[in-house]
């Protein structure tokens, strides 16, 4: 009989075998967590051919280490401390940084504890094939595991663990390289501890562990020139303490400690929110907080206190009598700070001039303002979370010291971010002259209280400014669009037949045909914009014998190919949506699916998910059913083409669509407008824009749209019914009435028009009445401005919000979702899965039963959706700029009609509807500005004539030029007024 013994670990060893810690939950409970720890002796060191370790174990590190560093001629491996990863991730990730790295488990855990984004970058580093990175589980190897001493801080304990591991590794190397008899004793490679913690280095030296600081390590590398630039400013403290740091005056107040911030927010005395910079005035920002209807205004550098766009900040709100109204002046950072020198300003002593400039710029706040315009005003007292990433910048050429414009010496320069919302970044680089005229990527490292600007470091060059490739990539980076090609793991999820995949012949035994309706005989067609490759919807309609009409919407069955929890599904979830740029499409799913297998091309059998209604002739829905199906589209129309065809099925569909639309409008749906322009490209190769025109709207556009809306609404009802807790829906919250205050006021004062915002229906009606008989475009303009006052629609999980907030304000629909574009939106894929489960086609994947999981995905998808829209818009803007440049060259002077949409003390905000372009007309000197009535008066161009008054909604003519900023090489659109006055004189 076999003897079974139970290996019970004696409780006496609890100190070693158990790791205990406390956790405070979000609800304020304290939980004691206990983890078992098993120490083992078979954790490999990861070095090739090590005799002491298990020979079968996988190894990554080469036997002799890296021998190119001048301080370690006998070869070495590096073992970085936590602070190296926290501060110098860009360096570690660089392709020039090649030494073999040993990452300790202790370090990994500390990084995770301190910063999740950095942790995921570190994780990614450990899995790439190109790099020699070995993760050593030191806490689990019996020789390197340590127990915390009494009175030892967690930090000291971890440092001790890291040193212990480094010590062990060096001792271990002697075992791995035993002396071979008859041969001279080989010099052994070393394991070098890299840390910027001075105390840790001292201790390590005492324990005879080789150690070095990051900077001195990089200095000794063979390609130190490229790498020194990547060093973040954070780590460089101790190496260059030469400047009289103590002598500098603090420009900003210190942040309060995190615990105080949290306590203050909880007690309601402080407020937390995202910092939004003002794009017209770099000295002003706002923080929307739940406690006030209007966002908290931050005025001036001191009160913005080093907050950068997107940071989660904590603000303190001043007494109500100190509240202010936002300034009505455009303050341009570049103009105001033109003479600020990067090297000089390090001393920040002689900043009187800057100060004067800025206080002049802020002077407007002293002007008396109507009390209604005042909004909560405060200052930033702390940062909860920095959302710093790599920013696309240009080097400001004036900040280079002229004497060494060609030298390769280290110098401090300013980088101006492309985005107007960001402050200039100061960085030290050796390659400054070669960077001029390029788009570069810069990361912010820190922002000291003594420094007017944040300090950062150079990451990499994107290419020449205004070259298409650089612009495109910078756009994608700026909006954080993931654009890498799909990896092998993802492509492996595609059907092995590839392009040759077809719907298998009908047979009950074939899984594709299980529970699928055969709709191949129906006359189905698709209507899409010209050149559309990813056709994800198709329609049909036919008269039934009972006089009713059957109408169907057929959506590509993407969920048949994209299964939950696969690499492809995860990637799609992370990408969130396809991003459309003018000259490029960044797919959410591999192109094989989007443009072939899931594209409902004509005359090809395709899998689809169909929504089929039975309607009366008056478009009343009698019945709706959902089914997976196989279809064969009979024709693919372009909008214009379908418009001309209008044969029977299309006419039928069209008549229904018109009735549906009428019903929707009656229910109070809004007809919103946003500037939509189309870029004509010369040819697909050159992609030089030739011209810009406004998109033409065909009746058939609205045909497709009506049916898609109907399908989405029907599907939303069905999935919400089946999965009340986790169904994926889309809502559009009604905007708070305060959002419209300004627009209402302008309309009232300028045009005598009233805007009723009590409900979406009322708004729709009053928008219809906003007409100017002389100016047909006026209505569109008001619609565009009204749209800007609204909140953006969002995806949500039905269990996460209360039932009465499900509604879609713009569409006036009580419930809504996205079902119709699964190729390009991830939310639609989820809805497909839920609908398939709701009709009993497949069981629902367990992850879609979890509210938390769905919420998490929704958060990502919402953000990606927003970013994708912004990226698309920015791409259009770039091409509008290019087109204008082309026109300028051809036509000498480009003038367009424009509407005034905003008045500033020193300028006008104008909107050129023909180009969908918003711009700024700046005056060099102040005008007579009437904030109450939204008018400015400028002297007439003819001497002796009375001043000309310009007000919001006035039609003016502007001259549009594209000029290149001399310093930053940033092309920008410049507008000047031509009519009623020529503003060049002003």
């Amino acid at each position: 009989m076999p003897e079974i013994t139970i290996l019970k670990r004696p409780r006496e060893e609890a100190v070693i075998t158990q790791r205990m810690f406390f956790k405070k939950t979000a609800r304020g409970k304290v939980i004691k967590v206990l983890r078992e720890r098993y120490l083992r002796d078979d954790i490999s060191c990861g070095i090739d051919g090590c005799r002491a370790c298990n020979t079968t174990a996988q190894t990554i590190l080469s036997r002799s280490g890296d021998t190119t560093h001048k301080d370690f001629p006998t070869g070495h491996y590096i073992l970085p401390d936590t602070n190296v990863f926290l501060a110098q991730m860009d360096l570690i990730e660089s392709n020039y940084f090649t030494p073999p790295i040993i990452i300790l488990q202790t370090v990994m855990e500390e990084v995770r504890h301190r910063s999740l984004p950095l942790y995921s970058r570190l994780k990614a580093l450990t899995t790439t094939d190109e790099r020699k990175v070995w993760v050593f589980y030191n806490e689990f190897r019996s020789e390197t595991a340590i127990v915390r001493e009494d009175d030892e801080t967690p930090n000291d304990r971890n440092d001790r663990g890291i040193r212990k591991a480094a010590e062990w590794y060096n001792a271990h190397l002697t075992l791995a390289h035993p002396p071979i008899r008859g041969q001279p004793k080989l010099a052994l490679p070393k394991v070098v501890l890299i840390t910027d913690d001075f105390a840790n280095r001292q201790k390590a030296e005492r324990e005879k562990i080789p150690c070095i600081s990051v900077r001195s390590y990089v200095d000794g590398m063979k390609n130190s020139d490229q790498l020194l630039d990547l060093l973040s400013a954070t780590g460089s403290d101790e190496v260059e303490p030469t400047r009289a740091v103590a002598g500098r005056t603090a420009l900003y107040a210190d942040y309060l400690p995190m615990s105080t911030l949290v306590a203050g927010v909880k007690a309601g005395q402080l407020h937390q929110g995202h910092f939004n910079a003002n794009q017209f005035n770099y000295l002003e920002g706002t923080v929307p907080v739940p406690a006030f209807t209007k966002p908290v205004l931050l005025m001036g550098r001191e009160n913005m206190n080093r907050a950068v766009q997107g940071d989660v900040v904590v603000v303190e709100v001043f007494d109500e009598r100190e509240w202010k109204a936002p300034t009505d002046e455009v303050i341009d950072q570049e103009a105001t700070l033109k003479n600020d020198d990067a090297e000089d300003s390090e001393e920040e002593g002689d900043d009187l001039m800057v100060h004067e400039h800025e206080s002049k710029a802020l002077r407007a706040e002293h002007a008396k303002k109507a009390p209604t315009e005042k909004q909560p005003t405060g200052r930033v007292v702390g940062i909860i979370k920095r959302n710093w990433r790599a920013y696309v910048c240009h080097i400001d050429s004036t900040s280079l010291t002229s004497s060494n414009a060609t030298s390769l010496g280290l110098q401090t320069v300013f980088a101006t971010p492309v985005s107007r919302l960001l402050p200039r970044i100061r960085l030290r680089t050796r390659q400054a002259p070669s960077l001029i005229g390029n788009k570069i990527l810069v990361t912010i490292d820190r922002w000291e209280i003594t420094s007017r600007y944040p300090e950062g470091h150079f990451v990499r060059t994107l290419g020449k400014a205004e070259s298409k490739e650089a612009e495109q990539e910078s756009l994608l980076l700026e909006f954080e669009v993931p654009y890498r090609p799909f990896g092998k793991a993802i492509l492996d999820c595609l059907p092995p037949e590839g392009e040759q995949w077809v719907v298998p012949p009908k047979s009950a035994a074939i899984p594709e045909w299980r529970d699928r309706a055969d709709l191949r005989d129906l006359i189905i067609c698709s209507i899409d914009p010209p050149g559309c490759q990813d056709i994800d919807d198709a329609l049909h309609a036919r008269r039934l014998t009972n006089g009713n009409i059957e109408a169907g919407v057929h959506i590509a069955d993407v969920s048949h190919f994209v299964h939950p929890e696969t690499a492809m599904d995860n990637e799609a979830a992370a990408r969130g949506s396809t991003v459309y740029l003018v000259d490029k499409r960044i797919d959410m799913l591999p192109a094989l699916l989007g443009t072939n297998l899931c594209s409902l091309r004509p005359h090809v059998e395709r899998l689809a998910f169909s929504v089929i209604w039975e309607m009366t002739v008056d478009a009343e829905i009698v019945d709706v059913r959902f089914t997976k199906s196989v279809i064969a589209s009979k024709a693919a129309f372009e909008y214009g083409e379908a418009q001309l065809r209008k044969d029977d099925p299309i006419r039928l569909l069209n008549s229904l669509a018109q009735k549906l639309k009428a019903k929707r409008m009656a229910a109070g749906a809004l007809n919103l407008a946003s500037p939509e322009v189309k870029i004509h490209l010369d040819s697909s190769e050159s992609s030089d824009p030739v011209d810009v025109e406004q998109k033409a709207l065909h009746e058939t556009n609205s045909l497709v749209e009506e049916f898609m809306l109907l399908a989405n609404t029907s599907v939303a009802r069905k999935t919400q019914e089946s999965f009340p807790q986790t169904s994926v829906l889309r809502r559009h919250l009604p905007p708070p009435p305060t959002n419209f205050e300004k627009l209402q006021d302008i309309l009232q004062k300028r045009k005598g028009l009233k805007l009723d915002v009590s409900s979406s229906g009322a708004l729709a009606d009053s928008l219809d009445k906003c007409l100017d008989p002389k100016e047909p475009a006026f209505n569109t303009l008001v619609r565009i401005m009204a749209t800007r006052c609204m909140l953006s629609a969002e995806y949500f999980s039905s269990g996460s919000v209360s039932r009465d907030t499900f509604g879609h304000y713009g569409l006036a629909s009580p419930i809504y979702t996205h079902f119709t574009s699964p190729i390009r939106r991830y939310a639609d894929i989820l809805v497909h899965r839920q609908l398939a489960a709701a009709i009993g086609y497949t069981p629902l994947h367990p992850s879609l039963h979890s509210k938390m999981h769905v919420e998490r995905i929704m958060e990502v998808v919402n953000r990606r959706h927003r970013m994708a829209q912004m990226a698309g818009r920015a791409s259009v803007e770039f091409y509008v700029g290019l087109a204008l440049k082309g026109r300028n060259e051809r036509e000498k002077e480009v003038t367009e009609d424009a509407f005034v949409i905003r008045t500033f003390r020193n300028g006008l905000g104008v909107f050129v509807s023909k180009l969908g372009l918003e711009g700024l007309v700046m005056f060099k000197r102040d005008t007579q500005f009437d904030a109450e009535n939204y008018t400015i008066s400028v002297p007439s161009s003819d001497v002796g004539r009375p001043d000309v008054t310009i007000s919001v909604f006035d039609k003016v003519t502007v001259r549009i030029e594209v000029e290149k900023d001399k310093n930053t090489q940033r092309g920008r659109v410049k507008m000047t007024l031509v009519n009623p006055v020529d503003s060049r004189a002003l």
Partner: protein, 337 residues
């Protein structure tokens, strides 16, 4: 809790009263059976101990066995039951195998009786530990002391109190740090200056009479996740229990089940010896069908104090040993592997 016949009862009583007194296991009247104590037996609790009285040395069976565990929980003061400064709630539950002959209802009653004795003594506000408060007036710790009786071979109350004392001795309270935000006065001229002024103001606020500026402590944090915390305050105040089993002419200690069944009256005394001079009587209780008078109780208290001190000293010595064993020695052993 065993039922014995009248003859057995008479036999036990007469042998106890004989000279010299005779007990079935050969002990003297004031001798205890062997007591075994181990602390820290429930790692997930904040403090725990197991005690057994009269366990068979050979096979580890038999004897009275009790486990106590203290668990701390954050509760808010004001809404609900929370008390400013924290509170202790005790409960005793009996494993059905400890009393196989009792019906579930009877077991419930028994548990309730034991709980009331323990709770009345240990939850008393006078011996409430001082470090159970987290944020004055906002948050405090609730200490749940749960005692489980696994088997009863007599003298259960002494065992329960010893286990409770050991568990509370072992209890560590996680260190908390209160975090607060102090709104500053509104007369500021410049934002940067105001920040500096904060420091000055703190110095001014010294006067306690200045009530205008109430300190708004809003929340707390754990400064050190890995630290178990500081020992629960009042290690010296948790009493021991001594059960005097009374026969008309004598009293004896640590009765077995049979002996318990043979005595008409038991006196429980709860003593704590914070310093050598002033032993504190934390409570007493008479259990049983017999009667007693003040004169007898007075002399019994004197004796009880003497015996209780012995138990106290022995227990304290062992508890200190346990502390050493679990921390310092374990670590040394780890280093000398």
């Amino acid at each position: 809790m065993v039922s014995i016949s009248k003859a057995e009862k008479a036999y036990i009583q007469s042998s106890l009263q004989s000279d010299p007194p005779l007990r079935a296991d050969g002990r003297g009247l004031i001798d205890f059976r062997t007591i075994a104590l181990e602390s820290g037996i429930a790692p997930i609790a904040n403090g725990s101990a197991r005690i057994s009285i009269g366990r068979n040395a050979q096979d580890g069976g038999g004897g009275t066995e009790v486990v106590a565990a203290a668990k701390l929980e954050v509760e808010s003061v004001g809404d609900g039951e929370g008390v400013d400064g924290g509170r202790v709630v005790c409960s005793v539950s009996c494993s059905p195998t400890a009393y196989p002959l009792l019906s579930p209802n009877a077991l419930d009653d028994l548990q309730h009786d034991m709980t009331s004795v323990l709770n009345a003594t240990l939850s008393h506000p006078t011996i409430r530990p001082k470090n159970l408060g987290i944020l004055p007036g906002r948050k405090s710790w609730l200490l749940n002391l749960d005692v489980i009786v696994f088997s009863d071979a007599g003298n259960i109350f002494d065992a329960i109190f010893m286990a409770a004392r050991a568990a509370l001795w072992d209890t560590k309270v996680p260190r908390t740090k209160s975090v607060q935000y102090r709104a500053k006065k509104s007369d500021r001229s410049d934002a940067t200056q105001a920040m500096d002024m904060d420091v000055d103001e703190m110095a001014h606020v010294g006067s306690a009479l200045d009530t205008r500026q109430t300190i708004q402590v809003a929340d707390f944090e754990l400064p050190d996740y890995w630290d178990e915390g500081e020992p629960l305050d009042g290690r010296q105040t948790w009493p021991v229990c001594l059960t005097l089993n009374l026969l008309p002419t004598l009293q004896f200690l640590d009765a077995t089940l049979q002996e318990e069944a043979s005595v008409p009256l038991k006196l429980l005394v709860f003593y704590s010896f914070q310093s050598d001079t002033t032993p504190l009587l934390r409570g007493m209780r008479l259990l049983g069908t017999g009667v007693s008078d003040l004169v007898q109780v007075k002399s019994l208290l004197k004796d009880g104090e003497k015996y209780a001190r012995n138990v106290w000293v022995a227990l304290e010595g062992k508890l200190k040993d346990e502390d050493l064993r679990r921390n310092q020695k374990a670590r040394e052993r780890f280093l000398n592997r």
